[in-house]
Symmetry: C2
Subunit: 434 residues, 2 copies
Amino acid sequence: MSVPPHRLASRLTVSSVEITPVALKDPPLLNASGCHEPFQLRSIIRVRTTDGIVGVSEAYGDDGTLGLLNRVAAVLPGLDVFDLNGLTHRVVDTLGAQSVAMFTELLGPASPDKTAAVAVGAFEVAFLDAQGKAVGRPVADLLGGAVREHVDFGGYLFYKHAEHPDGTAPFEPDAWGAALDPDAIVEQARTMVDRYGFGSLKLKGGVFAPREEIEAVKALRRAFPDHPVRLDPNANWSVEVALRAAAELEGELEYLEDPTPGIQGMAQVAARTSMPLATNMCVVCFADLPEAIGADAVQVVLSDHHFWGGLRACQRLAGICETFGLGLSMHSNSHLGISLAAMVHVAAATPNLSYALDTHWPWKTEDVIRPGVLEFRDGAISVPTAPGLGVEIDEDALAELHEQYVRCGVRRRDDATHMRRFDPSFTGARPRFS
Amino acid sequence: MSVPPHRLASRLTVSSVEITPVALKDPPLLNASGCHEPFQLRSIIRVRTTDGIVGVSEAYGDDGTLGLLNRVAAVLPGLDVFDLNGLTHRVVDTLGAQSVAMFTELLGPASPDKTAAVAVGAFEVAFLDAQGKAVGRPVADLLGGAVREHVDFGGYLFYKHAEHPDGTAPFEPDAWGAALDPDAIVEQARTMVDRYGFGSLKLKGGVFAPREEIEAVKALRRAFPDHPVRLDPNANWSVEVALRAAAELEGELEYLEDPTPGIQGMAQVAARTSMPLATNMCVVCFADLPEAIGADAVQVVLSDHHFWGGLRACQRLAGICETFGLGLSMHSNSHLGISLAAMVHVAAATPNLSYALDTHWPWKTEDVIRPGVLEFRDGAISVPTAPGLGVEIDEDALAELHEQYVRCGVRRRDDATHMRRFDPSFTGARPRFS
């Protein structure tokens, strides 16, 4: 045997946990909630074990999540990084019936289950990274083995302003320019496809009147006839509006994502369109699944280890999707390389996670990891083969982004307030289009 | 880091696979299919890796299963033992649309999915054992970590004859004697509880008229008022008979297992009793779940890594049961210590696998593993803490039981033919009681 029995068994216990909030420059991307602020927040988690192995992870960086993560971090020392069930147990014990508001209201109301899932997901990735480093295996191997060498992502298109309102962003405007009509969206798509090789496209909708977004989809289809296209109005349409839009888009979309709020609303739309409906809004935790499946409300679930409870929870969800004939893709919030690596590992090890995944990656100009591992080629990322997640923290970059966090003063996501700087009449009430 | 990166990564590939059929002496236990023959068959699987680690597993030993396992074994060399998805892929590639009759007809008709699941389950356990040995961790740690130190089992009571018919068993009768009425069942239960400390009891029914089995349950309840009792008629009752029996047993049983055949039949019974219905007959693969859940046909699923597709598949099933509010227990066929260890590891690492598990263990007098690891105390087995499954093969015992296999001539399970040696009128048609 290459490793003596018990050599590792007693040694992989957590000795300390470090959580470092960071802020990233963000372009003024538009969505149903409003507009991305100049800075978006993440937290970088480092779990150190008694023998010096460090597992890394990445989570939301708003104050609510940070408070949650710090409370849990305090009870992790002594826990074995292989004991993922023990992690869940400590999280639930520590948080009890506490509910922390979700990072974005698009994930629905807070609940104790969702709160626990966010905390478990954050640390589970670090535990798996540590496990992989300890045994010399990539995380995908710990999840059943990679079924694909490359994981496909889609080009994520956003309506956007050219720059943040005067005085709100202490940095130069991004190079993308404004995208406020179909032509500009097509141009944005062209740049994305040229630069990253994406083989499918997704438009973040729910921003302009459905008519305009339908025209944008049609323009994309004409410009990229071989690219599957998705549209995500983020539940900003009433059932009636969604039904009219679905009729007009029939056959044009790979799937229509969250056209309208709620499982029952989605079910009403699903019953009258042949296009698959996808969601990361009305099915965001295991408790949502029975009703959604019973109502045949959605045909594709967009998984996300940050709020489903980690990579193994995503695989549990994958098993449910496979069993009940649901498609499975993966949702993105703005994220850094640690989370991108985590997404790649779990997608690689999940046979039925076969749709291209979402990522905000092209909108990001900074990172905490050393470059070189995660490069897009033909719209895909190669599964890292080094132990653990296969990414390494760049200490200087991390320190700089933490300084940026300290300086920027943003402590929770608030797209609506920023939107009102462009459009004082914006209320954020949804569905806006009815 | 205690293990250099990549040290293990390139080394844990399968170099050879050895499959050894064994035969075990079996008492004349009665069930819906007939009577256990004097010998029952298992196969012992050894997966050797290029660096000398050997993972062990145990599967059915009938000719159909052996043929299946040998076909798959031929394509495993070169596969990484961490690549469990690759194992599934090679199995499916090798077997294609082939269906091999299930080890027992109680699991329903053969299908390509079930056939693949049997093969995957057989080798996955050996792969996990090898993984655990390689990294110095018990299998429970590879499945998320043990949530309990001991796994509870129930005392599995059988109607039985005192001995096999003259000339059919080349060994002395067992020490249990006949059990053909309620008093004898209570006596059998007393011995089991005294000897193993079981805290719950299960009667294998579907053998005698429902009236007699109901009386046996009531006798058990009187004799063991603190022991939850289960009854398993193995779908040998019509819906009408099941409904009458359920009404009479209302409140007496922890659950009623497979009273009647089929999901729709079970649903008719479930709708009219408050007792949970359990199954390992109408829900035996993932494809069965949607209909069963939709019809609210069962409240407890009895998992079994041998036919669900391995330990990780059992955890996938556990996730579905948790999500849909189903209970989860574990089914037993006659098995040896390797499979008992596998059951203990997966049960330990599955929080909602909280019912006492089934085991035929007390009916077995031989084994292929070295004694000492798996000992019942208070009806429970302690989770082995050594790397892998934590059990070791006793080469002499294995050789002896293989010799017994060669000599005995039994090559497939046939309880009905043996039953006719006691009762020439036995047809095996089910449901027998209608």
